[in-house]
């Protein structure tokens, strides 16, 4: 079956995924060549994806950097280093607004370009055919290559997981579908750099050794198809797929090209299929053959509010404001600036945000081009959303559950499979914000799951705690029982010889009590008689029997003696002793210390220009990783020796 399906794939069969929509294309910039934008006035590079746990920033404010210089060492395996996208001075490492629909802030490195645009020397690998896949993957990772289609998944991780553990890669798909309306950057790149993209395909073929390489392009890009077919020759299959909206999403593309539906729980690379965007492939070629890290990307700048539209090669970290200025934005009232395409992108709350690797498109439509969203009406259950959902969900049900706060049912409907492609909200005749609600619901589900795991952990901890407590109680009980047994044994040992004479332990009988009372009365009378100077032999006899001192009485007497002694002796020597050793204990009154408080020292002056300087000196350690074109500095300083062995000490 397997080989027959592969044969079908090679033969050119095209499958069809469920649902999908055909929105208006709005691709006006297909004929506009890619132009490189001038240097912006400021470059802001977000750090969030380039640090991870244990990551390091290699520079500090005031440093001079060159284009392509490594700025961070990533901590996690999923992160890639950050590269400076032009030469200049780092003016701040602080919180800046990120390109996010909520306008969150995050840590960024801000570079003031010096206009010279000096770059570190490129380090091409000319003999990449002879290198091992691991070496090439390492290069791909350390040259900062991530998925440029929008998801920004690290390419090296994706490629290496496809060949890890002796797995073999079946099919490598180059994603040139570009189904998003407005975006034409991949289209233009394929038209202009087809040969370079094919070189990138060769490199990835060398790494993955797949059974088939398929370049999938939607049939609304005839020029790109022609260019790629010419460049590909027999090195790869160019597959023309019908234009249908979410065909560029990885799983849908795999379904179209191979007929395999990969569930959302599994990874695409687990079943031997790797999908990479054309621009990512181009970046791989640049990293290996040209030796240039990923510091620029192509974006489409479109929309009727702009005087010019086109495809721009921008440096990462250029602000959206700069790009829009360059294309002469003439904003209308409440102008919407959409980062990403009109279906998956989001409106920016501020245009002072940097272009990152995930931005494909900046869209500034007028109200005539993209009418503002009208008010939502009631759902009439027309079922259009269920007919277009490429993930085979029933969105209106999910929406109803989610709106009602029934998160369990929403999860049971399969909200986890939602890719937020926006098909359902596109077709909804009542203009319900389905996708927005699902995004919210997913966040809630995530929180709920986190809460559940936290509760689970707490419960486990509590159980352990209880077990410990029980164990301790049991031990205590045992100890107590042992002690009791010991005491009883002692008592038995003590009581056996003197059991008859021990009146204290024996229960007093009524006669006994009466006798004792009589004796006490007699003793009192005797004391009074003694006071009066009279004494009788009878009373003295009873007194001696009465005052037989027990052990407790003796102890009490010793204590009383001690107390009296202490009262009698004045604490003359005690002040000289420290508190803990004084017999009289802690003094009642606190002593006032006369010594003056230390004067507060003025804090070290910070650089006044820097808004939010790092609180500690950033120490530049010799890099554990060294870039190929910035080799590790020679270790000039002598190795430090322990003090007792140091040379300075031996010298006279």
């Amino acid at each position: 079956m397997a080989s027959s399906q592969l044969a079908k794939i090679m033969h050119g069969k095209i499958w069809r995924f469920f649902g999908g929509i055909k929105p208006s294309e709005l691709k006006n910039t297909t004929q506009t060549p890619i132009e490189e934008l001038p240097l912006p006035a400021l470059i802001t590079l977000p750090l969030e994806r380039h640090l991870g746990a244990g990551g390091e920033i290699l520079v500090k404010a005031g440093d001079r950097v060159k284009a392509g210089q490594v700025l961070t060492i990533p901590g996690g395996k999923r992160n890639v280093p950050l590269h400076a996208s032009t030469s200049g001075t780092i003016i701040a490492i602080n919180q800046q607004i990120l390109p996010h629909p909520s306008g969150f802030t995050g840590r960024c490195i801000t570079i003031k370009p010096d206009g010279l645009d000096e770059a570190v020397d490129p380090a091409p690998i000319s003999d990449w055919q002879d290198k091992s896949p691991q070496e090439l993957l390492e290069r791909i990772r350390f040259f900062g290559i991530e998925g440029l289609g929008g998801a920004q998944f690290q390419t090296a991780a994706k490629l290496s997981s496809a060949i890890a553990d002796g797995r073999s890669c079946n099919i490598f798909i180059v994603n040139g579908a570009e189904c998003e309306p407005v975006a034409t950057c991949d289209d233009r790149l394929m038209q202009e750099k087809a040969a370079d993209i094919l070189q990138g395909v060769d490199i990835i073929k060398h790494i993955l050794k797949p059974k088939a390489v398929i370049i999938a392009i939607e049939d609304n890009k005839p020029a790109a198809i022609k260019a790629m077919q010419q460049a590909a020759a027999d090195r790869a299959i160019v597959r023309v797929i019908p234009t249908l909206y979410p065909s560029g999403a990885a799983r849908n593309l795999i379904k179209i090209v191979t007929g395999i539906e990969i569930p959302y729980k599994a990874h695409t690379s687990d079943c031997g299929i790797v999908v990479d965007n054309v621009e990512t492939v181009y970046a791989v070629k640049q990293a290996i053959i040209d030796g240039i890290p990923l510091i620029k990307r192509v974006i489409t700048v479109a929309g009727s509010s702009l005087k010019r539209q086109g495809n721009a090669l921008v440096r990462l970290g250029t602000s959206v404001r700069f790009v829009l200025n360059h294309y002469h934005l003439n904003p209308e009232r409440r102008q919407r600036i959409i980062l990403g395409g009109p279906l998956m992108g989001f409106t920016l709350p501020s245009i002072d945000v940097p272009i990152t690797k995930s931005a494909t498109c900046v869209f500034a439509p007028t109200a005539a081009e993209v009418p503002p969203e009208p008010e939502a009406m009631n759902c009439i259950r027309c079922g259009r959303c269920a007919r277009v959902c490429p993930s085979r969900l029933v969105p209106y049900q999910m929406y109803a559950y989610s709106k009602a706060g029934d998160h369990q049912h929403a999860a049971a409907c399969g909200i986890a499979d939602c890719t937020e492609c926006g098909c359902c909200a596109f077709v909804c005749p009542s203009r319900i914000r389905l996708t927005a609600q699902f995004r919210k619901e997913k966040a809630i589900q995530y929180l709920l799951k986190e809460n559940a795991t936290r509760n689970e952990r707490a419960r486990a901890r509590m159980l352990e705690h209880q077990k410990r407590e029980e164990e301790a109680a049991r031990l205590r009980e045992e100890k107590k029982r042992a002690a009791l047994a010991r005491i009883q044994a002692q008592k038995a040992a003590k009581g056996a010889p003197t059991s008859a004479g021990d009146s204290a332990t024996a229960l007093p009988t009524a006669q006994d009590l009466a006798a004792r009372r009589a004796a006490a009365v007699a003793a009192a009378q005797a004391r009074r008689a003694k006071l009066q100077g009279l004494s009788t032999s009878a009373t003295s006899e009873t007194a001696t029997t009465e005052h037989m001192p027990t052990q407790a009485e003796r102890a009490a007497a010793v204590l009383a003696q001690d107390r009296a002694d202490r009262k009698a002796a004045p604490p003359a020597a005690s002040p000289a002793l420290p508190y803990g050793l004084r017999r009289a204990g802690v003094p009642k009154q606190a002593h006032i210390i006369d010594a003056p408080w230390p004067e507060p020292q003025p804090a070290e002056r910070l650089l006044s220009k820097v808004e939010n300087p790092p609180t500690h000196e950033i120490e530049v350690k010799p890099a554990t990783y060294h870039s190929i074109f910035a080799p590790a500095p020679e270790k000039t300083e002598a190795p430090k020796l322990p003090h007792n062995l140091s040379k300075t000490r031996k010298q006279p």
């Binding site: 208006s24 539906e261 501020s350 009418p371 259950r381 079922g383 009542s430």
Partner: protein, 366 residues
């Protein structure tokens, strides 16, 4: 807070993705349904007289008032309630199903029941379980069965000339006896005494109990007695095709519905001709054609997915056949629709679609 502050500063528009939308909106759907009903309305006017106009106006006014009242009670914006066209669709469907000379108080109470209880008590547009027009119809057929017999018009060509606006208004609004007008219209037919009952299905009902359906002469749809039904069927089908062309309704639904009725009716007629009328009579008499294109395709009271909708249509068609042949009412469309509406959630559960990625094997191709 961050959003509002920053967007206020830069005065940028904020919207949720996606920013593009398809052209069809809910109100456009309702307007298209109203337009698609126009051929049916024209044919009804021609063969049944002007009573329909009065009924529709009456139903519209009552429906509008009820909607406004509910919007007030529920503290919803009145403007949105007024812009909602769905109540006019309900009104027109109810007007087409009720006898044209129905006394006004019955019409008003049917509409009030349909809007206030069937629709708004469940939460308004999109939340009702039962089709409001059909529920209103059943409300009347159960509570005032006599009115149906006295006010039903046997269709005749050019009945609009006899049952003018004035004459129908007199019958509907003043308590004038409708029998005179009904007889006047019946006189226009070729053979006024062909039928014993008010309608063909009514006369079949009595014959059915006596197991003598076969004895009733098969209706000739070319004669003036019955050509109204053929014309109505064609008019509704034309409107339905418009809706299918505009992608308002799924073509699978009327197709499955009509095919089931035709096949089931033909089979039953073949097996026991004394119990069941023939296939063509099943299709053209009663509300079958109206139901096929306008009633069972109501999205609100339907199953969700396409597969579920086809199941819904087939179930509804089978119920229609069953009630028509075995039941004690002359027509069964309304009952069948309400019963299938009640079964829609169950159909939804039974026709749950498989999730994405079933049939995936580890390793994909191997």
């Amino acid at each position: 807070m961050q959003i509002s502050v920053q967007s206020a500063k830069q005065n940028l528009g904020i919207e949720a993705a996606p920013h593009l939308h398809a052209k069809l909106s809910t109100n456009k759907i309702m307007a298209l349904v109203l337009i698609a009903l126009l051929p049916g309305v024209a044919v009804t006017l021609y063969y049944f007289g002007c009573g329909l106009i009065w009924q529709f106006l009456l139903l519209t006014v009552v429906g509008f008032i009820c909607e406004m009242l509910c919007a007030l009670l529920r503290a919803r914006p009145l403007k949105r309630a007024a812009c909602d066209l769905s109540v006019y669709v309900t009104a027109l469907l109810l007007a087409l199903t009720l006898p044209p000379l129905m006394p006004w108080y019955w019409t008003v109470s049917a509409m009030a029941f349909a809007i206030l209880i069937v629709k708004q008590a469940f939460g308004g547009l999109g939340m009702n379980i039962f089709n409001p027009a059909m529920a209103g119809f059943i409300f009347l057929i159960i509570s005032a069965p006599g009115a149906f017999f006295t006010t039903y018009i046997a269709p005749a060509p050019a009945a609009i000339q006899v049952a003018t606006l004035e004459r129908s208004a007199k019958v509907i609004f003043t308590a004038e006896e409708p029998a005179v007008l009904v007889q006047d219209i019946k006189a226009l037919q070729d053979d006024p005494d062909a039928l014993s009952g008010a309608t063909f299905l009514e006369s079949v009902k009595t014959a059915r109990k006596a197991q003598t359906v076969n004895a009733i002469a098969a209706p000739d749809f070319a004669s003036t007695n019955y050509q109204a039904y053929a014309a109505l069927g064609i008019a509704y089908a034309a409107g339905g095709l418009l809706l299918i062309a505009c992608r308002v309704i799924l073509f699978q639904m009327p197709l499955a519905f009509l095919a089931t009725i035709a096949a089931g009716g033909a089979l039953w007629h073949y097996l026991s001709p004394n119990a069941s009328i023939s296939c063509a009579e099943h299709l053209l008499f009663g509300g079958t054609m109206l139901a096929a294109f306008f009633i069972i395709t109501d999205p609100v009271t339907n199953a969700g997915t396409s597969k579920g909708r086809v199941c819904f249509s087939i179930l509804c068609a089978l119920l229609i056949l069953l009630i028509r042949v075995e039941g004690s009412y002359s027509d069964s469309v309304a009952f069948a629709v309400l019963l299938s509406n009640a079964a829609a959630p169950l159909i939804d559960v039974l026709t749950r679609r498989r999730p994405f990625g079933i049939g995936y094997k580890e390793g994909g191709l191997q």
